[in-house]
Amino acid sequence: MGSVTFFLLATALVVSALTVVVHPNPVKSAMALVATLFLLAVEFVFLGAHMIAALQVIVYAGAIMVLFLFVIMLLNLSDEEAEARRRGRALFRIGAWIGGGVLAAELAALFLRVPFPAPAAPPAGYGGAESVATALFVDYALPFELTSILLLIAVIGTVVLAQRRAS
């Protein structure tokens, strides 16, 4: 039962992730990425990590991807432009196919040789509000605060750059 739902989810996840890469339309590609992030959150729910699942949807699917879409729409990229840009890069294409093929072959060989032991059950309280909060605000309080300062600097930098452009 558990593994059936897992493989159904995993298949959907892989399909939507592939759609992100191969779809020619940037808006649909972005929407496929939203679906991927959402399905990943569902995967976290099955692990019992409700907090991480909620954060995944709020931060990535609900906020960051909306900004992605916002920018794509403002730039108004169409299929044709993207197609034109892709043309004349036959060499890159061949290289990508070869690289991807080698990687796929290696992965397939790995899957056939290495045995996969059954995963251990996640520890109690895994991915819940308490464990995430303990990790963020107790165990890694200093790196967490430093990260927020880094983000603040980035925000201020953006404002400064935008102001300079305007004047």
Binding site: V27, A54, L55, I58, A61, G62, A63, V66, F70, G128
Partner: protein
């Protein structure tokens, strides 16, 4: 196992019917309420049976005739539209709003034959975050719907809508943090139970008493999330025809309208749960009333549960009506005023609220 599945199915059905019926009822309240406010008669024509009935059937018009008209109209897809996304737009708008109801408790436990049934569809220990996550996804309906129709009005409406919804989501989430700090949990049912206590044995310990500012911030941000007057710039019918759903007709347009009304119900349900004691009736415990002063009145369990559910529905309805009152009383904001209100007023207020609440909680132990 089958009993559990059946109970889960019945609970889901009850909540879905509750949400959908409230949504449709609001359509009538909106028509009739706006007529009252503007001193019109309004929504009173339904020529059923050739008008031989002596009383008017305005409510029938709104609740039955209108939806039938909407859902049998021609579905126009404009040339140059992205057919797939044009089709999915309304669904993406309405689905996230309707699933948020799963986390909202509509009563305490119901005991049937020794089996305790928790009156909440999904018992999530991160209930509030689930609701915020899902309501955050409803922005895709607006953005994609506006983009997919290949119309300038729609695109402008969609861009306005996404900027507005993202801005106000931040204030909305921060406004709730004060309440989360007070109750010390993210579980909506636990928050509902905590509000059954009393302060000094008299005042019901509802969230609004601890968090009046938090409620105000949440309500304003919530009304902005519903994209209705005074925050209806994404629709902006005087400048953008109908904003992001300009190019939708028939059932799809009705679905967009329904998602807005369902969002009103969500905001009201969440405000009720966090700030107005959820399903609590003052002084009503599981075994009956316990008034301050020692007077008690024992009641059968079923009566208690019915009163709790009725109390929840009543509170939600009152808050819905308040939102409709706001919609018909205030003029529309200008876009810069809208952004100023969100970022320069609500956000600092919400941050101050979080800080003060945290300090008080630490000092009070």
């Amino acid at each position: 196992m089958w009993a559990d599945a059946a109970i889960a199915a019945v609970k889901s059905l009850v909540m879905l019917l509750l949400a959908l019926n409230l949504t449709v009822l609001l359509l009538w309240v909106e028509r009739k309420g706006s007529a009252l406010i503007q001193d019109r008669i309004g929504a009173n024509r339904a020529n059923i049976f050739g008008g031989i009935l002596p009383f008017n059937l305005g409510i029938v018009n709104t609740l039955i005739a209108d939806p039938i008209k909407m859902f049998t109209k021609e579905d126009v897809i404009p040339a140059g539209a992205d057919k797939l996304l044009h089709f999915f737009g309304p669904f993406l708008a309405v689905f996230p709003v309707l699933v948020t109801f799963a986390a909202v408790p509509f009563g305490d436990v119901l005991v049937i034959g020794g089996r305790e049934i928790n009156l909440q569809v999904a018992e999530l220990n991160v209930g509030i975050l689930y609701v915020l996550a899902m309501s955050g996804l409803s922005v895709y309906g607006v953005v994609l719907g506006g983009w997919a129709t290949n119309s300038r009005w729609s695109l402008l409406g969609a861009i306005r809508g996404s900027a507005q919804m993202i801005s106000y989501e931040i204030a909305m989430g921060l406004g709730l943090i004060g309440a989360i700090l007070v109750f010390g949990t993210l579980d909506l049912q636990a928050i509902a139970r905590a509000q059954g206590a009393t302060i000094w044995g008299v005042i019901p310990a509802w969230g609004i008493i601890y968090q009046p500012l938090g409620f105000l911030i949440f309500l304003v941000a919530g009304i902005a999330e519903t994209k209705r007057v005074p925050f209806d710039l994404p629709e902006g019918e005087s400048e953008l025809t109908s904003g992001y759903f300009t190019e939708y007709s028939g059932s799809k347009q009705a679905t967009y309208m329904m998602s807005d009304f369902a969002e009103i119900v969500v905001v009201s349900a969440l405000a009720t749960t966090l700030f107005f004691g959820a399903w609590q009736v003052p002084y009503l415990a599981r075994d009956g009333f316990h008034f301050p002063g020692g007077f008690a009145l024992a009641l059968p369990q079923v009566v208690v549960v019915v009163m709790q559910v009725a109390s929840f529905v009543l509170k939600v309805l009152i808050l819905c009506c308040f939102q409709i009152l706001v919609r018909w009383s205030l003029p529309r904001y200008r876009y810069d005023q809208l952004m100023d209100l969100g970022w320069k007023t609500l956000l600092p207020l919400a941050l101050a609220n979080v800080l003060i609440t945290a300090i008080v909680i630490v000092l009070a132990g």
